[in-house]
Amino acid sequence: MKSNKIFRGYPASPGLVKGKLKILSNKLEVVQEYDVVDTEKEVERFLKALEESKKELLKSKENIKDTVGNQYEDIFEAQILALEDKSVVEKSVKNIRETKKNAESVYKNVISEILDRMQKTDNKYLKERSFDIVDVMNRVLKKLKNRDEQSVETSDEIVIGAYNLTPTETMKFDKKKILGIVTESGGMTSHSSILARALSIPAVVNVKNFLSNVNDGDIVIVDGYTGTVIIDPDEDSEKTFKKRKEEYKNYNLKLLEMKDEESVTIDGRNIDLSANIELLEEIDEVKRYGGRGVGLFRTEFIFLEENGYPSVEKQENIYKKISEAISPDSVIIRTVDIGGDKPIYVRNKEENPFLGFRGIRVSLSNEKILKDQFKAILKASCKKNLKIMLPMVSKIDEVIKAKMVLDDVKKELFNQQIDFDKDIELGIMVEVPSAAILAEEFAKYVDFFSLGTNDLTQYTLAVDRNNTNISQYFDSLDPAVLKLIKFTIDAAHDANIWAGICGELSSDPIAVPILVGLGVDELSMSPIFIPEIKMILKQLSYEETKEIAKNALLLKSSDKVREYMKGIISEKFPNLIKYFLGEFYDR
C-alpha cells in the first residue's frame, strides 16, 4: 500500500519532476540505547557494519567516477577516511566493551562529540559541509539499526531534501543530476529559491515537518508550479503526474512560441520584460525566454567569492562579458548589496542585520568598494548599454555622495584617457519606505527607479521575510505596499524618469494587472517567468488595468486584493488558474 503522503509548501521554482529523495541533513539518526550481554559479538557487529558501509562507498565511487567527475569522488574518499578513522573506531570498540551498550548508541555518542565541535564554528560553509560526514555516519547507524533501505547514490537522478540550502550548496548542484529541491525553511525570495529558479531546478520550499516524515530513498513527486510534494505516490497520483507533466509541457511550448514577440498591451502600451540574474551562466536563459535585457544584475556573488574585495580587473571582465552578450539591450548593474543575510563586512554580529550595515551603507563607509566597482563598470561601459543602480538607499545624502564618487572616478578615467560611457545612467532601488515617501525628491537626482518589492514589503510591514513564523504576514499585495509603489511610479513620471520593478512581485500573475495599471515601465524577473507574464500582458489593455489598479487600491487588506485579483485572473486566463494556481492533488 503506497502511503501517498502529501505536503505543501511555497512553489519556489517551477517544474514537475519525480525522483528519489536524498536527504542532506546535519542531524544524526535517532537510535535506541540498550544493554548487551555478549560485547564481543556487538563489537563484531559494529566492525561488520563499517566494512559493509565502506564496500558500498567504494562501489558508488567507482560508479560515479565517469559520470559526474572527481568533485564527488573526493567527497567519497573523505567519507571512507572518516569511516576508517582510527580514533573513532578504537574509542567505539573500547566503549562497547566497557559500557556494555549497543553499538549504534555508543558509536553515535563518540561521533556526536566530534560533530558538535565541528558544528560550533561560525563559518557557515564549514558548518553546512559537515553533512558530508553526517551522511556517512548515518549510513553506518542505519545499518546497525537494520534499516538498510535502498541507499541513494549521487549517480541517481535525485531530489534533494534539506532543512535549508546555502547559495553555495545550491550552486554546486549538477543540473543534470539534481531533479528537484524540497526544503523545510526558506521563502520565495530567499537566496536558494532565487538560485533554484536561475538553474531551472524545480523547487518547493517552506514545507513544514517534511524531514521528520520522510526517508532517504523515498520516491517523491515535486510540483514546483503549485508547491505540492508527494512522497511514495499511489497509482492515482502517478497518473495525475504523467498527465500534468504532458500538459505543462504543451503549455510551456506555447508560451515559448511568443519569445520574440513584443511585450505590449492590446492598446499598445509597451512594458519591457527584463531579467534578474546573478551569474554569467544565466545569459543563455535570458535569451531562451526572450528577456529584454537585464533589469537587475546582482553582484554579490562576485564579492562573496573574493571575500568582499574582488579586483577591478575581475569585475570589469565580468561586466564586459555581460554587456557584450546582452547588447543592444541594456544591463542594470546593482552595486554590491552585502549585509542582511550575507554578512562579510561586519565584524560583530548584528541584532538586526536587515536593519543594519548593508547595501549602499557598506559601500559608502568603505569607499574603495564603491570606487572599484564604479571604475570596473565604467571601464566595461563602451557599448553604452550599462546602467548603475544603488541598493538600500534611504537618504538623499547617500545618492549625492555616491554621485560624487562616480564623478571622481569618471575624472580619473578621463585623465587616463580611458574610454567609457560619459552619460551612463544612475538609478536607485526603491526598497526602503523612506525612499518611496521621498520619491519626488530622489527623482531630481537619478535617472530611474527600480522598486525592490521584497524588501519594500518587509520594511513597510515590519515582517522579516525569512522568518517562517510570520510568513503569513508577508504579502506584497498589501494595500500599504501598493500605495508606496503607486507613489514611487507617479513621482518618477512627474520627473520624466522611468520606474520599474525588480522584486518577485513582477512575476506574480495576480499582481501584474495592478502593476501595469499603476503605470510601471519595466518588469524584471527570473527569466523563466518572462514568457508567462508576456502572455498575460498581451491580453490586457492599459485602460482596463488602470481601472483594476484603482479598485485594488481601495481594498482594505492583502487578502481582499488577492480575492479580487483571483476573480479577474480566472475570468481572463482560465488556463493559468488551472495550471498554476489550482490545487491539483486535492481530492
Binding site: 573526493d74 567527497i75 572518516a82 580514533s87 565541535r117 564549514l126 559541509r129
Partner: protein, 88 residues
C-alpha cells in the same frame, strides 16, 4: 621534533576534501603528527580530528611533527597549504 605555524589559505577552509588530502599525505609518513589550534590538539592523521578544528580561511594552525621523517612530512604539509589544497 619540529614545529611550524601555518595559515589556511584556501577559500573554503579545511572542509572534508582538503582534510582528506592532508590525511592521505600524512599517512605516508612514520612520524607522529599533531595539529594545534588554540587549545585544541588533534591527530594529523585523523580526518575527524582535522575536521574538528573547523579551520576556516585565515585560521592559524600549529603543526608539531616528531619522528625519523619529520622534515619530509613538514615539507609535504607546507606544500599542501601553499598550493591551497589545489582548490583554486
Amino acid at each position: 621534533m619540529i614545529e611550524k605555524e601555518l595559515i589556511v589559505k584556501n577559500k573554503l577552509g579545511l572542509h572534508a576534501r582538503p582534510a582528506a588530502l592532508l590525511v592521505k599525505s600524512m599517512g605516508k609518513f612514520e612520524s607522529k603528527i599533531e595539529i594545534l589550534r588554540d587549545d585544541l590538539l588533534v591527530d594529523g592523521k585523523s580526518i575527524m580530528g582535522i575536521m574538528m578544528l573547523a579551520a576556516e580561511q585565515g585560521a592559524k594552525l600549529t603543526f608539531r611533527i616528531d619522528g625519523p621523517d619529520e622534515n619530509e612530512a613538514m615539507n609535504a604539509v607546507i606544500e599542501l597549504f601553499e598550493k591551497r589544497f589545489y582548490e583554486e
